[in-house]
């Protein structure tokens, strides 16, 4: 058991990040279980504790009497320094067990810019960084989460990956491990990996050989072991009402990023926005019933005493029974003064009415995501939102008393021209002017937040060349010049982060040495703008003789074999190409949830169906 000196804890910022003991944390005697699982998120406590996926896995694993799951997050810079000085290994928050002593260490892969933290955590845990160097006494390092549709840049650091939704497959993995362990670990580490590779949704990168041509283009990706499948399809939960959800979330003592209950209404989103990887990778839409949701809400609230609940989903306003559910929840929790929030508002007056209803207790700002500044470009990305939609929604919001609106956009989208960038400023101005028309006075605050587009695998834009750094910066400047109204606050992302993210997002196995080099040279917490060390990353690419542009700024051919094609969410390449061509023609595609099936291939390849209770009740 790791012991921490009070002097050490007194010397670091927010020591409660490192001391555990939260309500609902599960502490088990490791001698009395057959499998121990450290669930890691490679960012600080406040971020890690906000992750829904890990909360679900924590519940599922700890529901088993034979398994102990514990949490571990990345220590902040100050704590890391103390740990290294005092030779304290990375430890879990439940039993203060060294991470090295767990059977599995599972990393949640939320976005590319936290990869350096994974290496740092392995190093702090005294676990060999490269999978090939791990021995029989080391834990198995497993990854899962949104980034799992191209893990090639970090493939060499992981023993295996869980592809898709983890609820069922994590149980398969645990049981497979326990059987192997009880048989006295036949075949050692490779022995277990071979058994795991036979499970649907498990990707063991060392079982695949990648061949490149003289230009470093991929020639082939083939299994080099009979246990490995040619293509690994994601796992998907068919019935969201039956699968285990969070019942007793660990209740933090300190403020975390999402310090509220998360009620997941449904999984998947089929609106078909062409830039969106989640829109493809979480298909198809599967709703929970309103009855189940009310029951879950009651259980979670009783277990925590939270006074805030977020109705989460990729596009919560699309929940078919939302109106009714909201009424019921407001009724159910009337006495407890619970406030509810919808994190993703659709741009229509239905959403505004709902938001108004939900904010009866507390009032905050409203956020909309038109994503692009002109109708043409919104059609290119299949956003399916018109200026009229936005005007109607914002008018309704002003009438209901909102005085602050946040608008999200992206720049660097395919086919984008300066007209489209200036269009963002024009649209924001209209939203400002609308306030005076509706309310007859000044006093609105409009925030325009613009991110730099990063093309992602398994989207219709996966072939597309990302804008150069200079182009992003020029467009940011251009937009700045066109925003003149003082009621508009303009914020934009550091384009350098997006430039790197772009290279890693569509990178191949060659990038592991770049990530290793960058970590060795001090890269960590790259997603934190105050910690991001761009120069270290550029130098790391250079030292390894790799150009980031090869991965991010190259228009790829239709026929190119991508590094990620052997691991798939089930969508066909033909569908993505069709969508890519429709994008260039600015043609829309319907939402398959209520409209026509667009033959993306997910339902058929995974034998799963759309679950929409509103439609079924019609």
């Amino acid at each position: 058991m790791v012991k921490l000196d009070p002097a050490l804890l007194q010397a670091v910022n927010k020591p409660a990040r490192y001391t555990g003991n939260e309500l609902n944390a599960v502490k088990k005697d490791h001698a009395k279980v057959s499998c121990t699982f450290a669930l890691a998120l490679p960012d600080v406590y406040e971020v890690g504790m906000s992750n829904l996926g890990l909360k679900i896995l924590y519940q599922i694993l700890n529901d088993r009497a034979d398994t102990a799951a514990e949490r571990v997050y990345a220590p902040w810079i100050d704590m890391e320094e103390k740990m290294r000085q005092n030779d304290i290994p990375l430890y879990s928050l439940e039993t203060f067990t060294a991470i090295k002593d767990f059977d599995f260490v599972g990393f949640s892969l939320q976005y590319e810019m936290i990869y350096s933290n994974i290496l740092n955590m392995l190093d702090l845990a005294h676990i060999p960084l490269w999978a090939a160097e791990r021995g029989e006494a080391d834990p198995f390092i497993v990854g899962g989460g949104p980034c799992v549709y191209n893990t090639e840049p970090i493939a060499d650091f992981f023993d295996f990956f869980i592809v898709g939704e983890g609820e069922e497959v994590i149980v398969d993995v645990t049981e497979c491990f326990i059987v192997w362990k009880n048989e006295n670990r036949p075949g050692g580490r490779p022995g277990l990996l071979q058994r795991l590779a036979a499970i649907d949704g498990i990707y063991v990168p060392s079982f695949y050989a990648v061949a490149y041509d003289e230009n470093n283009m991929i020639k082939s990706i083939e299994p080099n072991c009979s246990a490995a499948k040619a293509t690994v399809f994601k796992r998907v939960v068919k019935n969201m009402d039956v699968v285990t959800f969070v019942e007793k979330p660990v209740l933090p003592y300190i403020d975390i990023v999402h310090d509220r209950l998360m009620l997941e209404l449904f999984r998947g989103c089929s609106r078909g926005c062409r830039f969106c990887q989640a829109g493809i990778s979480y298909r198809p839409v599967r709703e929970r019933t309103p009855e189940k949701l009310r029951e879950l809400a009651k259980t979670m609230q009783a277990a925590t005493g939270y006074d805030e609940m977020s109705l989460t989903s990729l596009s919560s306003a699309d929940y078919s029974c939302l109106g009714m559910l909201v009424e019921d929840l407001l009724q159910d929790f009337h006495e407890e003064k619970i406030s509810f929030s919808l994190p993703s508002l659709r741009i229509d007056s239905f959403s505004i009415d709902l938001a108004h209803k939900l904010q009866q207790v507390r009032k905050s700002g409203l956020t909309f995501a038109p994503e692009a500044g002109t109708q043409r470009l919104r059609d290119v990305i299949n956003k399916g939102v018109t200026e009229e939609n936005l005007i109607t929604a914002v008018t309704a919001a002003y009438q209901q008393g909102w005085k602050s609106v946040k608008l999200y956009f992206m720049m660097g989208l395919p086919t984008e021209t300066d007209e489209d960038i200036i269009g963002i400023a024009r649209l924001a101005q209209k939203v400002v002017d609308l306030y005076r028309e509706v309310k007859g006075k000044r006093g609105v605050k409009v925030t325009v937040s613009v991110s730099c587009f990063v093309p992602k695998p398994y989207t219709p834009f996966q072939w597309f060349a990302q804008d150069t750094l200079a182009e992003f910066q020029r467009k940011q400047q251009l937009l700045k010049e066109h925003i003149r109204d003082r009621s508009i606050h303009f914020s934009y992302h550091d384009a350098r982060t997006s430039y790197l993210e772009g290279a890693i997002a569509r990178g191949d196995r060659h990038l592991s040495k770049v990530i290793y080099q960058a970590w060795q040279d001090g890269a960590k917490f790259d997603g934190w703008s105050d910690q991001f060390k761009y120069d270290i990353w550029l130098a790391a690419f250079e030292k390894c003789g790799i150009k980031p542009e090869f991965y991010s700024q190259r228009q790829r051919l239709q026929t190119e074999l991508f590094p990620w094609e052997h691991v798939t969410p089930g969508v066909t390449k033909e569908f993505l190409w069709r969508e890519c061509e429709k994008a260039h023609a600015a043609e829309l595609t319907e939402d398959c949830r209520r409209g026509k099936c667009s033959a993306c291939g997910v339902c058929s390849s995974l034998a799963v169906k759309v679950v929409d209770w509103g439609k079924m009740n019609d």
Partner: protein
Amino acid sequence: MTKFRTEITKGEEIRYISHLDYASLMERAIRRAKLPAAYSEGFNPHMKLAFASALAVGVTSDAEYMDIELTKPVCQPEFFDKLTAALPPGVKLIKARIFEGRHKALMAAAELADYAITVPLQGDFAAAAAAVQAYNAAAEVVYTRNMPRRVKEIEVKQYMQEAVAVVQQGSELQLVMKIKITPTGSIKPGEILEVLAQKFAMPIAVASALINRRGLYGEGKPLIDLV
């Protein structure tokens, strides 16, 4: 409307949480206990809770006090059992007392805090005892508090209720400090340790000190006994 004054603890498990965190922890516990707490009016309703003197991050306590207002009458045993069952690790409910009418707010009622401190000895006990003796004997001692934008000079001795006591226990020292809380200010036990180490050359590892508040008093009585 029913009001309860409670005596609760802040244990080792939650030593490193802040006063604000402690308040929100109690709020959530009260909601889990399904006690009919009263809320303030307005867009941002807050549970009507009041605490006595704030406790620093890193300090535990045997005697914290919290007043809570309920909208419906709840009898003492029911209140005690429900809240006890809902408390997280590190908090114990020691006493709960129903009260009526107007009383001094907890914050204003607290006049004296009693601390017990365990701190590693880094030299011989005689030197440590001499340092404490010199401190106790001094008429005035000035501590320089570093604030975010400025430094503040504070005369410390005015806040001492009685002499600091020290005994040795193996490689550690046990100190007892009784510190006055006044409308114009007070001093933290950790700050007195700093003064002892810096100005009186007391051989102790200040950063490793474990501080525990043993009691909080008003009019010479524990705050629970004021209602």
